[in-house]
Symmetry: C2
Amino acid sequence: MIGRLNHIAIAVPDLAAAAQQYRTILGAEVGAPQDEPDHGVTVVFIQLPNTKIELLYPLGDDSPIRGFLDKNPSGGIHHMCFEVDDILAARDRLLSEGARVLGSGDPKTGAHGKPVLFLHPKDFNGCLIELEEI
Amino acid sequence: MIGRLNHIAIAVPDLAAAAQQYRTILGAEVGAPQDEPDHGVTVVFIQLPNTKIELLYPLGDDSPIRGFLDKNPSGGIHHMCFEVDDILAARDRLLSEGARVLGSGDPKTGAHGKPVLFLHPKDFNGCLIELEEI
């Protein structure tokens, strides 16, 4: 069911410093910051040869990553995103196996304009998993 | 400098359950458990189309992931591994930029038989980064 690893998302306490670090110290291809007001984050994409890293920084008062950074002030890996062909079929399979989908269970439009769902970390070894229909 | 994401490593509290979950619920290609006594872990590799997941479970009394699981009893993402062409050049660049390499600074032989180094999480947004020479 799951396909490619679309990205790893890292919540960071200082977006400019983290972007600069990946660019100059780690020598990666780092994009410009993009505000995603609908998702409460500012994002910097880092393109690796086979996948992406997304650096996430809170945007606005109601950012979904604020709590994570409060608990992890140095930052940390926030989630990983797997691609699926059919997000509704993936959801139904997960639910039938007893896994929990966060929120209403209806896909939302993710930061890339594609339908996404998040799975409950307690059901998946403490890891927040995003599924994105590609 | 950094190339492909070689793998994401996830520490899990129940290796058989986690492997079964990735195989049946998430429909991924999951290998057999492999003991790595030199590294204090039992590993299950999950092959995705573009990268790998490594499920890690403690092996022996002195496992380097025991403390992580004590702090994160549900499990969690333990580290991510980037490929580099020349690990000594990578290390020297990192040290010259003020980043800290864990241990002696000399590469060790990793679970795949290649030279590896780990970077200090406090220098990289709370993320443990492994570099592997490919």
